[in-house]
Symmetry: C2
Subunit: 484 residues, 2 copies
């Protein structure tokens, strides 16, 4: 059994800061009171323990309170990506057999269009609460959250994340990142993603503050970090880059309290790591996914420059192996085991085994070096196979962004009659970039088959809500252009 | 499943400091290597997974390495109190069906006298190791350690402590005490006690250093604390007092790195807390026992003076309730639940349920105040806590009545400035009894701290209507006599 995080935390440190958002602050006892009200309003709507509710909204204090309210009421949450179309919302609600859609008023159009029982935040908050028995202890297998992953092909899969999954993830993380009096986390991620949800989970387990913002803002983030308001923050490579630019331009000094810049959602170019090092920004690269309830391996800041490109070592309660690998540097699919790994899917994919003898097949390709550091070479679905040779887009991108005039790069497969596929590159340029020089730059550092056979200059790269590069979209662009 | 702590830790932070003792220091990879050698030597002795080994020795680096060696080999450890007599050792080895006694050479006399297969450290270390399959993952219920607590019936009970028990205890503790880079714990406790063992367990889970000493030394402890060598230390009331005296006399300044003086093993006089506060020593009082694998409730340093005498709040993964209590301040037996609570006993007491619906009956009386702080008002009815060691009167009485000239015996606590309490005995003699011979008789069969420090000859013992010995009346007699 695992104690309901918020009830236990509010009993332990009621007066500690729990949450701040748009100038307001709540202590743990206040956050609990807000969450209890929402649990009782869910009860008023007739939602029972084991029911499912879908949440649609931007990151906000209200959403954080609703999340805790659901966890008190025993209601499972389906956390909908705020960018979904009405069709996609309907698919996920139907697949998850959700009993209700609770939507942020800003999403009224989508919320009302969806062919389901739905309530806006405003209408929900007007309900008269009906006191209920709160769920003070959880079974290990109690499902707290369901998140859909788009999957490599076909239909999105609803991933079950249990009380044990999230708790184990947070406990592994604390043994890696430490815990200081007064720690606070800067939260500029979507709450509906595992990266954003796990920040909430860790904070309530640790008794620390979440400084919540609706979205990423480089200037505000820099201010928070410089002022000593926060000790940690989660970013992806692209937001890290924007933040670095602000810190560099304004010559800002990192506050000594700040000790963890957690970078996930894909590889981080070495040039960013070097810049972070020069700024005194302690970067911890991490590897994780929805199915592992956030972090599985994390590279410590000390090793950031010694092991550039590595995702670190498997965290304390995590086991990782490379399928088929016999020696260091042997590449293969990354398999993951541990109490943080999902027990499985729901709906359409309910019969699909998430694990094989406890091992989750990540679909990602990677290897361990001789010291046991994990390197994720690429997402399997993005693998470019060219004339029998394997090309990992991340490797090509890492080279491209080293070019002085390249800000961001995305690489994908382009069909080729001769080779089956060849790599193509999308470039966000600093000023102008001379394609011939870029081609020469690549040829200097990459075997010729890995050098992109086409370069496209673009204003921005397609990214999902957590700013992760969507290479599938790049492939679609390439396909369209080649048809024309 | 729980990863073998040391294997995982050595993989994560091989070069971090793990242990220091008498001027030598081992990193985690070095400690692992030492432990592997010992596991392989256990294998050479024919010990298999699931076998039991009894360890007898003082606190030393060798003992720490043996403990980790046993955990690698899958061998369950019976941690013998180093003060036990040969008779007591034989009882515990027989009761636990231990396959081998491994003894520190300084304990050769006891080690060789015991009528069991036994090996000295020196002879053990001369064995040729035979490589074996190390236990890299533990089932939650895997028994790591067995510690005997003397029971109320007179027969000590062997308490099983599992991988989950110890791990949960350490995880609850980290959420309470935090974890900083460079943390180190000053270890001057017996390794065979839960207080001392749990320091080892926490360190390897956290990746921090244990600064190990054979025994408590106030001057050395003060030096460690003042110099910034350590961030925490475990003491009992009597050692806290000696340390305070040194700090006060020498007007020492506590290093800012030092943030946890964990005081357990019984109540702490409020005057000590005040003195600690004046010295700037951050005291955390804790309540725990062998059956709870160390801490169950701990009072934070901030609350030490606000809630003098309290044991704090139940830690994150711990649940405590007061039997029969309906409101704050209602007194009753303290019941404890959680993943840190023993699954049960072995040997003679194997059929005795340790818990009732998951609740451990501590035998201690206590209450919660209006803010949820636990106060332990009376220890296990008659328990004598002497310098952190638990003494059960029944066990001492059982020895006394074996003496040919003793008809009846009653034992109770007698106040002691130095130890908090010591045992006193009331004797109904057959004819005359020579007190010196009685003292010698006890010393033969009881660890010295259990031997009564005063004997009173009386005509009869106070008994209630059902002839049950009323030890409370004995305590009152002792109090009166000491006043006179």
């Amino acid at each position: 059994m695992i104690p309901n995080w918020l009830l236990k935390r509010a009993a332990l440190t009621p007066r500690a800061r729990a949450l701040s958002f748009e100038g307001k602050t709540w202590t743990y006892i206040e956050l609990k009171e807000e969450a209890v009200i929402r649990a009782n309003k869910l009860n008023a709507l007739g939602l029972q323990r084991g029911n499912r509710i879908a949440l649609l909204g931007a990151t906000s204090a209200e959403m954080a309170m609703l999340i805790h309210g659901c966890m008190l009421a025993g209601v499972e949450m389906v956390l909908l990506n705020a960018r979904l179309t009405v069709e996609e919302i309907e698919y996920q609600m139907k697949d998850s057999q959700s009993d209700l859609l609770l939507f942020d008023d800003a999403f009224s159009e989508k919320g009302r269009q969806a062919n389901f029982r739905s309530v806006s935040y405003t209408n929900f908050l007007e309900l008269e609460p009906i006191p209920m028995q709160l769920e003070s202890m959880w079974e290990e297998d109690r499902v707290l959250t369901i998140m859909y992953t788009s999957g490599t092909t076909g239909f999105p899969k609803g991933v079950r994340q249990t009380a044990e999954n999230h708790t184990a993830s947070a406990l592994s993380a604390v043994l890696n990142s430490g815990l200081h009096e007064g720690d606070a986390w800067l939260h500029m991620m979507p709450l509906f993603h595992i990266s954003g949800f796990s920040i909430l989970a860790r904070a309530v387990l640790y008794g620390t503050e979440v400084r919540l913002f609706e979205k990423f803002d480089a200037a505000v983030a820099a201010q928070e970090i410089v002022s000593g308001n926060v000790s940690g923050m989660s970013v992806v490579a692209v937001t890290l880059e924007r933040l670095l630019t602000v810190i560099e331009n304004d010559n800002l000094l990192i506050h000594p309290k700040f000790r963890t810049m957690l970078v996930g959602g894909g590889p981080v170019p070495v040039s960013y790591l070097k810049r972070a090092g020069q700024c005194g920004l302690p970067v911890m690269q991490t590897y994780g996914m929805t199915e592992t309830s956030s972090q599985t391996a994390t590279l410590s800041a000390e090793d950031a420059l010694r092991k550039p490109g590595s995702a670190g070592k498997p965290l304390f309660f995590t086991d990782i192996r490379i399928e088929g690998a016999e020696e260091p540097f042997d590449k293969g699919e990354i398999l993951i085991k541990g109490p943080h790994v999902t027990k499985g899917y729901i709906g359409k994919h309910v019969d699909k085994q998430a694990t094989e003898n406890g091992w989750l097949h990540s679909g990602d390709i990677g290897y361990f070096d001789e010291e046991g550091f994990l390197f994720v070479s690429d997402r399997r679905s993005d693998l470019i196979i060219s004339g029998g040779e394997n090309i990992y887009p991340a490797e090509v991108e890492a080279v491209l962004v080293e070019h002085p005039n390249v800000l961001e790069a995305g690489v994908c497969a382009m069909p080729s009659e001769k080779w089956g596929a060849v790599p193509a590159a999308f470039i966000v340029a600093a000023n102008t970039v001379d394609l011939e020089s870029l081609d020469a730059f690549c040829k200097q550092q990459l075997a010729s088959y890995k050098v992109p056979k086409a370069f496209y200059i673009t204003d921005e790269l397609p990214r999902n809500a957590s700013n992760k590069l969507m290479r599938k979209t790049l492939r679609e662009c390439v396909a369209e252009m080649n048809v024309e």
